[in-house]
Assembly symmetry: C2
Homo-oligomer: 662 residues x 2
């Protein structure tokens, strides 16, 4: 064993230690008044209740799959350690989500309290808690991968597909279940509270308000974290695997080393997260980490390989990620043309608002798709399929930093909510809202980044799958003239539509139950008349139960369909994966950006343009925003998981397919 | 020359003679009161104005392309006759559209007048005028193809790609331009008339009402006709071409013969279009023609080939078409669950209405995609790629009948409009509205059918393209592992999104101009106060100009992109075509069915459910309907053309690509 073999593990340990120190720093801070503590503890408990309930269902699924893998390992070439890796992957992903949720729901009141001393203090708390999540994800990810690598060496590549599958499973439930939870709470709270009763957002009299705040954490912290944990480990695993299959020099460990440098760069760049303007601070952190990483990985590549080709593939991915982030920012920001066009279309009513939003969302696919196609071709030219995997690793390398800025968002959002609910006064509210506004921008960029990384990771996994198929001499005819492959392509392309139909419908159904409950409480408890107190917990229960019930069908679909198709025909499965990745990518961008743009068109009007709050244009824009909510926070993000999960499931079960088709 | 070589031409001539007789029959009927004649002549003139303006722009495009093809034929292996075939294809398609528009706008008042004697009389007029269109399309289509076939024999297959390209060009402008026209007029008329001024639909005081009625003809007659003319000839051309390349017995003429039998079956089945209930009458015609065709083509196949394999491929396509039609009917009908769920969701507002509609539309992709994938695989198993082309021919064989039922719709719609505008009284209005309601159902089924036939035709064209590439020994690596092909696939999959973004945006912009003009007329001319008369022509001008201006960019995109990509790399082009076909198919179904379901959810409420007209649920449903309008009538149908056009363009320019890549 060389020192470089241990370096990834060390970097992971450093990440986890840094996360602990930051968590300690955040927890030490004062949590404010009793009222603030009370609200924060409601959110904290609500979040943990949901997580615990969710884990119960997931553990059934995880245990069944683990046993199944163990049984299959007796009859096929699936290594028995796959089952163990699957369990560890699921456990680590759940652990990262749990840590992130705990710190985020701990930090919200503290960020609001710190804002009393100034906006920068608030920023520091919120960002630090985001960094705890970011570093936990990359730390646990690389530690998990390294342990298997150190024990099994080159053989670990095959075993680790199980690790990726475990991570995917958690991500699936977190994104789908979390997405349904957050948006049914949000839509329910808004439709009755804001629209019907006319009380402001985050008004403590609204019984769904705590569920809504819990939802922000469930969706944007635990969901986003699990999503990117999956992309992160999957990209590294496909890189290791392809490096070995295609016999690249140091191919088995180079992707791990690159990821380790990314961790170092992320930690180092955290000192840049300081500026008068919170947006500038976060942007400095993001670009700082990318630049440090680009330099360090160039040096490592030159020192280790003497051949810079793989490095250019990494760079292609890194640049692609930045382009996608900027494109997302352009298409969703309330300071840019697209959101303003939607705002203007609101003047002729909700219908034109919706149509313009759909048009913007569809058009916004242009740059990410072309950029990713170009990055893929460049990466391939430099290092074949291995290059495509490295592009994914490169894009995700500085995840410690980018996830920190993502998870900053919901903390700032909650902080603003607490300021409102605990009556901290106009000035504090303004400060936390400014933090929140920046959070919305970084969240939109984060979403684009999550989609892009999912797409390129899925591509890397597909190429890994095809390479393994060739290695096994399965002789599948994967020409685009094979009608089975084309049939698979069509059905694969359809799956994201079906998946989105299910998740959109799920939000609708759960939100309807929430609406009825909130209406009931207003009516029976006479809350608005100042007589009764809202029953937060029954709303939390509705969101929790709805999310858990509704997440099962789409989740099982995502796991079972590729297995069935693979048992039928390998070519059809390859077509299926390619089709699903293409439309999954497109539909995810469309839904996320249309949703973001609708949201910010409304914000633009609320700033006082086109008649401002209460105008007809505003009412139309509120409808657009409500349509956009589940698009951008439930259906869109769930597609990220769908495309990665189906590919990793195919890889895990490939030995089974091989035993049937050889 | 054998007798079977002449039979297709003869069947085409019979179709054209039948169309002439039916047209004479319709024209002979009385057109009603002076008022009715006046309104009808407004619509007639408005429609022809638009067509003439459109033809001016199209002729520039057609002449430029024809000259370009002639020049290219000097330097590449593109036969010089391609240019001639291109001109004839464009001319015949335009002619069919022109005939259809003239008869439809002639028949509308006559159908209203005939309804005075009974609903069945009205049905006969409206259906007969639809049959004129249907028979003109198939008659001109097969006559055009036959002439080239009789002159050039087997060589005609290559030349006829030009014919298909010509037909595609007209279809492109007709669908895109016509779609923008019809929906900007419709949305404009509704937003100001129905929503703002509170006057009923088709109220003659609304200045946009004539433009709206013209639009129905422009979109649903000329647009639909050109779309299906293209599918019809393209499927036959690809069948002839693949039959020759793959050396099937009688492969060069069998597709033409099958099409000829379809014409005979369509004409024969027209006697079945009689029943108390208009819906039953039309359905009898559709199923009758399919059954006659199935029998006749079985006999022909047995007599001519002694091998039934190609017949099963045809049958697969025929059944696929029926399944798609029925699935569309289910997902859009106001008597079925999906539309009702949307109606119920309207009770919690426009946002939930929109979300539920999106969910229904996305889910409705399931059956058409799986059915088409299965049909393709079956057809391939029986007769290779040739089978796929035959499946398309089979699906489109009875187009004479199915297009007759499609074009019946706008005539009935106009008849209902004229009854309202000319004050024909409650009873006549009720009868024409019943005819219109049936027309809505057949129109929805027709849309599904048009999409399905476009998808399978595009597939047949892609397989033709790949077969030609192999024949030319271009040795393109079309494995799904070729990153250039995957890049092409991604970019191709993106094009329908961009195309839809442009067309949705175009409707929005033109509708906005229309809204402002109608508001201006109401204000300045004091129409609602009974003082001034509406200026219909200025609204017609706005719709015409808007449509013509906005159709150019998306149209050029569809033609130029495949040529550029083909010049770059053949593999990328093949990926592009496959990706565009997959998402084009999906997005077209999503947009068409969501739009149809929104429309009928509104109708369901208007029937008196959930509070009926004027309720909050109804207001929400009107918003959904307005969103759905351009989805189902502009963007969705335009995608049919996009996917076919890009494939036929690729086939026409293949010799150019070959000369660059060999």
């Amino acid at each position: 064993m060389e020192i470089i073999d241990v370096f990834p593990l060390l970097s992971g340990i450093v990440a986890l230690i840094s996360a602990s120190l930051l968590a300690y720093y955040v927890k030490k801070k004062p949590a404010g008044t009793e009222k603030m503590k009370e609200i924060s503890s409601y959110i904290y408990k609500g979040a943990l209740t949901f997580l615990n309930e969710e884990y119960k269902i997931i553990s059934v699924f995880v245990i069944v799959v683990a046993v199944l893998l163990l049984i299959l390992s007796r009859f096929t070439d699936i290594p028995w350690q796959t089952s163990i890796a699957f369990l560890v992957g699921a456990l680590f992903s759940a652990l990262a989500g749990n840590i992130g949720m705990r710190i985020a729901t701990t930090a919200n009141a503290r960020a609001a309290e710190a804002s009393k001393e100034g906006i920068q203090k608030g920023l520091t708390i919120a960002f630090s808690s985001g960094a705890v999540m970011g570093l936990s994800v990359v730390g646990l990810g690389i530690v998990g991968l390294s342990i298997f690598y150190l024990i099994y060496g080159i053989d670990s590549a095959n075993i680790l597909f199980g690790f990726g599958f475990g991570a995917s499973s958690i991500a699936l439930f977190a994104r789908v279940g979390g997405g349904i939870y957050t948006k049914s709470a949000d839509v329910g709270a808004d439709l009755v509270g804001k629209v019907e009763a006319g009380i402001p957002e985050d008004d403590p009299r609204n019984p769904a308000v705590i569920a809504d705040n819990v939802g922000d954490n469930v969706g944007d912290v635990a969901g986003m974290g699990a999503d990117l944990f999956e992309s992160y480990v999957d990209s590294i695993i496909s890189g290791m695997s392809l490096g070995i299959i295609l016999s690249f020099s140091y191919g088995h460990v180079y992707p791990l080393l690159i990821a380790a440098l990314g961790i170092v760069s992320s930690i180092a760049a955290m000192i840049f997260v300081k500026a008068k303007n919170p947006y500038t601070a976060l942007r400095n952190g993001l670009f700082g980490s990318a630049i440090i990483f680009a330099i360090l990985s160039a040096l490592l590549t030159y020192w280790l390989l003497k051949d810079m080709s793989p490095y250019y593939a990494i760079l292609a991915g890194l640049v692609d990620g930045i382009i996608i982030g900027l494109s997302t920012e352009y298409f969703t920001s309330h300071q840019r043309r697209p959101a303003r066009i939607i705002a203007e279309a609101s003047q002729t009513g909700a219908a034109t608002n919706i149509l313009e939003g759909m048009s913007v969302g569809m058009f916004s696919t242009l740059i990410p798709i072309i950029s990713t196609a170009v990055a893929m071709v460049i990466a391939y030219e430099f290092a074949n399929f291995y290059g495509v995997a490295l592009a994914a690793v490169g894009m995700l390398s500085t995840l410690g930093m980018s996830l920190a800025t993502d998870c900053y968002g919901p903390v700032a959002d909650n902080a603003a909510g607490i300021s409102e609910m605990a009556d901290l006064g106009e000035e504090i509210r303004r400060r936390t809202e400014e933090l929140d506004a920046v959070g919305n921008t970084t969240a939109a960029m984060g979403k684009g980044f999550a989609i892009g990384s999912a797409a390129i990771t899925a591509l890397a996994l597909i190429f890994t799958f095809v390479s393994k198929v060739n290695q096994l001499n399965l002789r599948a005819d994967i020409a685009l003239t094979n009608p089975y492959l084309v049939a698979g392509l069509f059905i694969g392309a359809m799956l994201p539509f079906i998946f989105s139909a299910l998740t959109l419908g799920a939000v609708g159904r759960t939100a309807e139950r929430m609406v009825n409950e909130v209406r009931r409480q207003f009516r029976e408890l006479k809350i608005l008349e100042g007589k009764g107190k809202p029953d937060y917990e029954s709303c939390i229960r509705i969101a929790t139960r709805g999310a858990l019930r509704e997440m099962v069908l789409p989740s099982l679909l995502a796991v079972i369909v590729p297995v069935i198709v693979g048992i039928w025909r390998i070519e059809a499965l390859i077509g299926l994966l390619a089709g699903a990745t293409a439309t999954g990518f497109l539909l995810a961008i469309f839904l996320a950006n249309a949703g973001g743009a609708w949201d910010n068109a409304k914000k633009y009007i609320e700033e006082g343009h086109l008649g401002g709050k209460g105008s007809d244009a505003h009412k139309a824009a509120v409808i657009g925003d409500t349509v956009g909510d589940p698009c951008k926070d439930t259906s869109g993000p769930s597609l990220n998981i769908l495309i990665k999960l189906m590919s990793i499931v195919s890889l895990v079960f490939l030995p089974l397919f091989a035993s049937l088709h050889l």
